[in-house]
């Protein structure tokens, strides 16, 4: 696997028996000997430890940082309280999505976590557009772990007791035996849990300490994908990209009132004209959840039809997999808004056959965040 980067945990993954695959320019563990299905269920029942060090960590400093970042995202950053984190989207001039990210207010600076495949472009975008208004520091000497599941709190607080006091989307810098840990109570599995940034030189010892705790097992990208899909969460590059707007993607919840038409800081982000109009009037298509009636998974790229005989597809599936916790296959995809109502029966073409699927609410499995 030439030219692929490795995270600081590479040797640990191999030691734990991981199957390594190329992902977003990195050699990453897709599964461990437990296997995707059991790893998924283990995370839901106990706690899963994920290496997400391939993701980008960026700090924005300076008095103008929050205002500057607001010029790139349709999200209230000035209104984000200290010690809190929120989901955001970089949009482009056409109203498409350049990346989705997490933004934390850590008092004198903002801390951003962006997708691995987008991080170089995101940093270039910020440098070009807001580089004069704030200082942009790309963090290259820290790893990132996610600890997810009902036993995550007990596990992390065994090493860092104050972690138990955090609520969903709180952030804190907490001292530990492994140096300062940059912790957020969040994740991308639909479970309660944490994302933890740790200095590279302490990271492996920290991961080993977590793995030694009761109920904590290493989990690969395979289970990460089925966990996030059960939670109804988008994967950038599959479910959202520059061809999808936030409203088409059903991500209106990420756009606070203050940035919408009539709000104090309405607009002022790339693609505002389209996005504000779609917030007011709706978009022509919409991302929906789909539950196949049978057991055949309907995967990304599968075409959707309004009925069994129609010649022209009306939409396409963007993510699809078997959901181990719901015991059935699940998908998400884009359909015309008039076919996006829950309960609408559509047909997907799988191996030349039209198979029925029903538009369904997401998450497919209720999330268990500690609010």
């Amino acid at each position: 696997m030439g030219d692929l980067e490795r995270t600081v945990f590479y040797d640990l993954h191999v030691e734990l028996g991981a199957k390594m695959v190329p992902f977003a320019g990195y050699e990453m563990p897709v599964q461990y000997p437990m296997g995707v299905m059991k790893e998924h269920l283990h995370t839901r029942e106990q706690a899963g430890l994920f290496d997400v060090s391939h993701m980008g960590q960026v700090i924005l400093r300076g008095a103008g940082a929050a205002g500057a970042l607001e010029s790139l995202v349709p999200v209230s950053i000035l209104g984000l309280a200290e010690g809190r984190q929120r989901y955001a989207l970089f949009t482009d001039e056409d109203g498409g999505i350049l990346d989705d990210l997490m933004v934390a207010n850590r008092g004198d600076h903002l801390f951003l976590v962006v997708n691995a495949a987008c991080k170089a472009a995101d940093v270039a975008h910020m440098q070009a557009k807001i580089g004069a208004a704030c200082e942009i520091e790309v963090i290259t000497d820290r790893a990132l772990l996610a600890l997810q599941g009902p036993k995550a709190e007990a596990a992390l607080s065994a090493l860092v007791p104050q972690a138990a006091d955090m609520r969903f989307m709180d952030v804190a810098i907490l001292p530990s035996d492994f140096g300062d840990l940059w912790i957020s109570r969040s994740g991308y599995t639909g479970e309660d849990g944490y994302e933890i940034s740790v200095a590279d030189d302490q990271a492996v010892a920290f991961a080993r300490a977590l793995l030694a705790l009761e109920g904590v097992a290493p989990i690969g990208l395979g289970a990460r994908d089925s966990l996030r899909l059960e939670a109804g969460l988008c994967l950038y590059g599959n479910d959202i990209d520059t061809t999808t707007s936030p409203v088409e993607a059903a991500l209106e919840w990420a756009i606070q009132k203050i940035r919408r038409t009539g709000g104090e800081r309405a607009g002022g982000f790339p693609g505002a004209e389209r996005i504000l109009a779609e917030l007011d009037n709706g978009a022509a298509r919409r991302r929906v959840g789909l539950l196949p009636e049978g057991r055949a998974p309907m995967r990304a790229g599968t075409k959707l039809f309004a009925d069994e005989a129609a010649d022209t597809p009306i939409g396409e599936i963007t993510s699809g997999a078997f959901g181990p916790s719901i015991g059935r296959p699940m998908s998400m995809g884009y359909v015309p808004t008039e076919l996006a109502a829950e309960g609408t029966r559509l047909f997907a073409e799988v191996r030349g056959k039209r198979l029925p699927a029903t538009v369904s609410a997401m998450p497919f499995r209720p999330s268990t965040y500690k609010r």
Binding site: G35, M37, P297, A321, F322, P329
Partner: protein, 119 residues
């Protein structure tokens, strides 16, 4: 028991050929979540795509290892595809075939040859 390069095993039972996938194949595929079997009574030719299986990773086709007729399929793995991973050489069998001449199995790999084949 005989083996094909497509990682299927074949076992003769009451003059019928029982077909399934090997442990090696089941490990490589990962957790199997969907199986689609042919109709009983289907006439098949060697290398016809007769079974679709999907694992957590991807879809794969299982090819007919011989010419013949599918006389029985294992509905239990349709309802519980995990059986294929749990017991690929036993409860996880796929279908039974009637073939004209059982001596065609002699050309297939035995267990030692298959072990060499998968390295």
């Amino acid at each position: 028991m005989k083996f094909t390069e497509e990682h299927e095993w074949l076992r003769v039972e009451d003059d019928l050929v029982v077909v399934g996938i090997t442990e090696h194949a089941s490990e490589q595929l990962g957790d199997i979540v969907f199986v689609e079997l042919p109709e009983e009574g289907t006439e098949v030719s060697k290398d016809d795509e007769v079974v679709v299986i999907e694992s957590v990773k991807a879809a794969s086709d299982i090819l007919a290892p011989l010419d013949g007729e599918i006389v029985e399929v294992n509905e239990a793995i349709v309802n519980d595809p995990g059986k294929v991973n749990e017991d690929p050489l036993g409860d996880g069998w796929f279908f039974k075939m009637k073939v004209e001449d059982l001596s065609v199995l002699d050309d297939l790999m035995d267990e030692a040859a298959y072990k060499d084949f998968i390295g």
